[in-house]
């Protein structure tokens, strides 16, 4: 069988684009898990809510940038409220209770969206139209915009974690919650803040990805499923690991869909997940570091 080089080039670009958006979804998820051991089953719904708020703001103002920032801010507030109301009272309980709580929140948010916006999918117009030649394809510029914007958000957040005063608080709390508190770091508020940041990142990816699919109440499900795979493969709680894993898994899926249909290509992600759990349960990319 001849190697279809042109297809491989196109699928590499596709894989990187989906990988970046997946990285943006997953980094919020991994951050929340890393700092409070909470598996946030409502993450996909925060992604979906972000997209809907994007639709509304875009319809009334016409500005995509405003839609992106408003959606992130509003969903950050919703995330903070969700954390204070449902997760904070569960601190110190069995982690299973947080799974039930976030799963419950996810059902509530899904059905709220269904009730409020209806089952018909809404559209977000691409802020950047136009295409460029990529071999035999007319490739939309907007897909590259998504990749760059996701990378920029992740990069900005990484700088904040590395150098910012609150970034140090977050890293210290992730490593040793008790000692962080003994050093005067208000750990309960760091938890709320991290949840809000994770929610904002989910919302931003929802708005960015909205133009490619439609915005509908269940749009978060496939993303959160993939994000979970990525978080495990990347090493639970490892920020860099989940970014690497997001791109790795998305590239593999893209290449697989050269030969099989895209819906079958998802199998590849699960194979990677199972192999990781069997042979490197701490994750492929996580250096056990948090």
């Amino acid at each position: 069988m001849a190697i279809p080089w042109d297809l491989i080039v196109v699928q590499t670009v596709n894989g990187i684009v989906t990988g970046m958006i997946l990285a943006l979804v997953a980094s919020g998820l991994t951050l929340i898990f890393g700092i409070m051991d909470v598996v946030n089953f409502a993450h996909g719904e925060l992604f979906m809510l972000g997209a809907y708020i994007g639709v509304l703001v875009l319809a009334s103002t016409g500005s995509f940038l405003l839609a992106l920032t408003t959606a992130s801010l509003v969903v950050a507030l919703i995330g903070a409220a969700l954390q204070i109301v449902t997760l904070r009272p569960l601190i110190g309980r069995d982690p299973l209770t947080t799974i039930l709580a976030t799963f419950g929140a996810s059902l509530v948010l899904q059905n709220y969206a269904l009730w409020q916006f209806g089952p018909i999918s809404r559209k977000i117009a691409e802020p950047v139209s136009g295409q460029f030649h990529l071999l035999y394809l007319e490739y939309p510029w907007y897909r590259l915009v998504i990749a760059v914007a996701s990378a920029a958000i992740i990069g900005a957040f990484w700088l904040f974690l590395k150098f910012g005063r609150y970034g140090i608080w977050i890293r210290a709390t992730t490593q040793d919650r008790v000692m962080a508190q003994a050093m005067g770091i208000p750990v309960p508020w760091v938890h709320t803040g991290v949840f809000a940041i994770g929610a904002a990142m989910a919302a931003a990816s929802g708005v960015l990805f909205g133009p490619l699919v439609g915005v509908e109440p269940y749009m978060g499900l496939p993303w959160v499923l993939k994000a979970f795979i990525v978080v495990v493969v990347g090493g639970m709680g490892s920020f860099g690991g989940s970014i690497a894993a997001a791109i790795f898994v998305s590239l593999l899926e893209s290449y697989a869909s050269i030969w099989v249909s895209p819906s079958q290509a998802i199998i590849v992600s699960f194979v990677v997940l199972i192999l990781t759990l069997l042979f490197r349960p701490t994750g492929l990319f996580g250096s056990a570091s948090r």
Binding site: W169, R171, D176, M179, A182, M183, G184
Partner: protein, 245 residues
């Protein structure tokens, strides 16, 4: 033997503290006080509740009964981060350095707080770097790469960043070489002279007696006796009673 006078104006006063881990009663009536800039030792066999006493003062272990007063005000049940901001610092037994943070970042966890000025920051950093030159050398290294002794110095330096009025110091010489032990004694002396009170839990009796003004003895989760350190010697009958095997 004379009963030592307790501090007239205690910075920390603990009265009849009781705490449980699950169902086991680990603190069973702890009462003690530490005066301003006083160094007080807390002695007892392993597992009598010395570390738990420090943790409950710090708000890290919930006390079911009894009170902790800090500067005369009740602080029982107050979250640890508020106590840290108001002037109680804690240096735990296992040091608990943030291993993936650099030395500088470890110090910043205590430095980055409201009301900190740029010049005060520099003063505090200069002071610890002068006391612990090795930390200045390693400021960009991860905490986890330091040796045990260096980690102990970092743990103390980190606590000093809070400009505490009292430091709860848990087994600072555990596992250290003799040369380091002498340095820890010197640092306790320096902190004392600067007006910082210290509640010291130690296995090293000679060091405790040398550094402290008064010593409390614990047994079965309870403070049973206290004495002026000057009245005791390393092989005193009291020491044997509470620490002998």
């Amino acid at each position: 033997m004379t009963k030592p006078d307790s501090a007239a104006d205690p910075i920390v006063k603990v009265d009849d503290l009781h705490a449980y881990y699950g169902k086991s009663h680990v603190l069973n009536g702890v009462s003690l006080q530490v005066g301003r800039s006083e160094v007080v030792g807390l002695l007892g066999r392993n597992g009598v509740g010395k570390s738990t006493t420090l943790k409950s003062i710090m708000g890290l272990v919930h006390a079911q009964q009894g009170t902790v007063l800090f500067e005369g005000k009740p602080v029982t049940g107050m979250p640890a981060h508020k106590l840290a901001r108001s002037g109680i610092a804690y240096v735990p037994e296992d040091r608990r350095i943030f291993r993936l943070l650099t030395v500088m970042e470890n110090l910043r966890t205590g430095l980055d707080r409201a009301g900190m000025t740029e010049s005060r920051r520099h003063e505090l950093l200069d002071k610890v770097y002068e006391l612990f030159p090795i930390l200045a050398e390693r400021r960009n290294q991860h905490g986890g790469t330091l040796s045990g002794g260096e980690q102990q110095m970092l743990a103390i330096a980190r606590a000093m960043m809070l400009e505490p009025k009292i430091i709860l110091l848990d087994e600072p010489t555990e596992g250290l070489m003799p040369r380091m032990v002498a340095q820890i004694a010197r640092i306790i002396e320096i902190l004392h002279r600067e007006g910082v009170a210290i509640l010291l839990v130690e296995q090293n009796v000679a060091l405790t007696l040398e550094c402290s003004r008064r010593v409390y003895f614990m047994e079965k989760g309870e403070t049973r006796h206290h004495a002026a350190a000057a009245d005791l010697t390393v092989d005193d009958p009291v020491i044997h009673q509470y620490l002998g095997v």
